[in-house]
């Protein structure tokens, strides 16, 4: 079937809508159907049943679930995600304050992982089982096995406590200057990026070595006298980068999840920290809002990476004519 690019994009966007609705529904059901219910969640396990009943009536929680969901969805579509039980601030504006901070952190972590993994992967594929390959493999193994909070602790121990080069907590926005901003974000970003770095490294290296071994064009290009280095960088790497776009999409959930702990540890006023604090303070509307937003971001990022793949891969972009 030959579809032009606009049609492909249009189709995917249309398919997005039921997915988004489904995600919000799951989120709502999850957080409102669990035993105990929202009222208990707000009041705490030690609440008396009387208190629970009163609060339930007050918040309209005794209405059928689907009705409540519809109310929520309708409000959400109009930009109203409820209000914080703690501060009365609108959830939407709370999110709006914190999203840019988290976004910057995410971007930084992604860049670190991506930019560092590429040269290491190329050098590893260049000489499989050589020194660089073995070290990379070791690094990847360590990266995949170390939870981000431990990496964060080690970084803090070395860089903040012993060497005193970087602050152990706190956040400075870009408006305070580039260096202060980076100073506060670099350690949390590195802590988050390690797992990603390990994944990208393994996938890239594996794909490149696979291509070198199995793809026919490799033999043909070599037989033209093209140097192995050029073959690696200009052909194999480029082809592998296509594959990794999908991996980036798949792992975005992990990256976002990583913000939860890391922001809490480093006191970065982002979305992850908001989630943790609102869970502790039993601020149900905020928890709902944050969780659903995270899920939606994951869905959107996956859509974007899929489309990116379609746009960049010349086989898809230009279609076959013969």
């Amino acid at each position: 079937m030959v579809l032009n690019l606009t049609q492909v994009i249009g189709r995917r966007i249309l398919q997005l809508i039921p997915v988004l609705v489904g995600v919000t529904l799951i989120n709502f059901l999850l957080l409102n159907l669990l035993p105990g219910g929202t009222a208990v969640a707000i009041l705490g396990a030690s609440a008396t049943s009387q208190e629970v009943t009163v609060l339930t009536k007050e918040l309209g929680l005794n209405r059928p679930v689907m009705v409540r969901y519809w109310d929520w969805l309708w409000a959400a579509v109009h930009g109203n995600l409820g209000h914080s039980l703690l501060t009365q601030q609108s959830v939407a504006s709370l999110l709006g304050q914190r999203v840019p901070v988290t976004a910057e952190l995410l971007l930084l972590a992604f860049l670190i992982a991506f930019v560092l993994s590429i040269p290491l992967a190329v050098l590893s594929a260049w000489r499989p089982r050589g020194v660089v390959d073995r070290i990379s493999n070791l690094l990847a193994m360590v990266g995949l096995s170390t939870p981000n909070f431990i990496v964060a602790l080690v970084l803090v121990l070395v860089l903040a406590i012993h060497l005193r080069v970087l602050p152990s907590t706190g956040f400075q926005p870009l408006s305070a200057g580039l260096w202060p901003n980076v100073q506060t974000l670099i350690m949390p970003a590195v802590a988050m990026s390690l797992v990603l770095f390990a994944t990208y490294l393994q996938v890239l290296r594996g794909d490149m070595v696979d291509q070198l071994a199995k793809e026919d064009y490799v033999v043909a290009v070599r037989a033209r006298g093209v140097s192995t280095w050029r073959l690696l960088v200009q052909h194999v790497l480029r082809n592998s980068l296509f594959g990794i776009i999908t991996v980036v999409g798949v792992n975005i959930g992990t990256l976002i999840g990583g913000t939860v702990i890391v922001e809490s540890m480093f006191s970065i006023p982002g979305v992850g920290q908001l989630l943790v604090s609102s869970i502790f303070s039993r601020d149900a509307p905020v928890v709902e809002g944050v969780v659903v937003m995270m899920a939606i971001v994951v869905v959107m990022v996956n859509l974007v990476t899929d489309l990116l793949y379609a746009v960049l891969d010349p086989r898809v972009r230009y279609g076959a004519t013969g």
Binding site: P18, V19, G22, V23, I26, N27, L30, L31, L34, P35, G36, A41, A45, M141, V142, L144, S145, T146, P147, N148, F149, I150, L153, V156, L157, I161, H162, V195, L196, A198, T199, Q202, V203, G206, D207, G243, T246, V247, V250, N251, G253, T254, I256, G257, G258, V260, I261, S264, L275, V276, I279, F280, V287, V291, M294, A295, I296, V298, V299, N302
Partner: protein, 288 residues
């Protein structure tokens, strides 16, 4: 914590050549380490002379490793770190295995069904599971665990929300690949019932890669559990768990780093061994 693209590998046909494949250091060393860890965590507290995990004395707080009576030192309350790590290991292992076992069963069934039956089963099941997968694993577990309560069973249930769709996706992919193979088509043409084909042909072929994937999932599940505990939303003190031990040791990171790094070591060794074992199995299956 991340799922790798290499996690989906077409399995070899059947088990007979299992023995020939189960050789090699890269497989047995991590397996041995894991066995040792399991034995240590479950049997040593039963039969060995290990002080209780909460039997700490305030005069013996923050003793370094290799102190008298405390092989790995004590924490901020004087509790023996070795003992707490072993008991905590029980929790981690139970949560890891439990959530993955649930996920393998539920996800395996769903995925194989979706892959084999196709059409409406496939799209509806997978749509639903894909939507669940849109929630970052830790966030999902956090939300569920915080509402359900900080006890072990509920943490297992919470993490199973993630392991189920992850497994289902792999099971479905494997089943789809298998479906095209001649022997499945032949069996269908021979008039066998779907149940029979599934039981006799599909499941035995999909199971090995699911189990290998399960190993990696256990590692992921253990890290999520540790993260939950670290945040204080999973297993809480005085109940021992690696994550909460690391959290409580934070403030003494520079003065008594062992409080953080002893449980870290346990977690790291376990997770690394799981990953290495998973890799070793995967390369063996891929070779066939």
């Amino acid at each position: 914590m991340a799922l790798q693209a290499s996690d989906a590998v077409v399995p070899g046909l059947g088990l007979p050549s299992l023995r020939s494949r189960l050789r090699g250091l890269d497989l047995w060393v991590p397996a041995a380490v894991l066995a040792a860890m399991a034995v240590a965590c479950f049997l040593v507290p039963l039969f060995g002379h290990v002080p209780g995990p909460n039997a700490g004395v305030l005069s013996q707080t923050r003793l370094p490793p290799l102190s008298r009576g405390h092989l790995l030192g004590t924490d901020t309350l004087g509790n023996d770190l070795l003992s707490r790590c072993l008991y905590g290991g029980q929790v981690s292992i139970e949560v890891g295995l439990g959530s993955v076992a649930l996920g393998l069963m539920a996800g395996g069934v769903l995925g194989i069904l979706a892959g084999y039956k196709g059409a409406i089963y496939d799209s509806s099941i997978m749509r639903l599971l894909d939507m669940i997968l849109a929630f970052p694993p830790l966030v999902l577990a956090l939300a569920v665990a915080s509402y359900l309560g900080p006890n072990e069973q509920d943490v297992i249930f919470a993490i199973a929300f993630f392991t189920t769709p992850a497994t289902a996706r792999l099971a479905r992919a494997q089943t789809l690949k298998l479906r095209e193979r001649e022997f499945i088509v032949a069996a269908e043409l021979a008039g066998h019932k779907a149940w029979y084909i599934l039981r006799r042909h599909v499941v035995p072929n999909v199971a090995p890669s699911l189990l290998t994937f399960g190993l990696t999932l256990v590692a992921v599940a253990m890290i999520i559990e540790a993260a939950l505990d670290f945040l204080g939303l999973g297993i809480r003190p005085p109940e021992p768990s690696w994550g909460s031990m690391i959290a409580s040791g934070q403030s003494y990171l520079s003065t008594s780093p062992w409080i953080v790094f002893v449980p870290t070591g346990f977690l790291f060794v376990t997770v690394t061994s799981l990953n290495l074992l998973g890799n070793a199995l995967r390369t063996r299956w891929a070779r066939s």
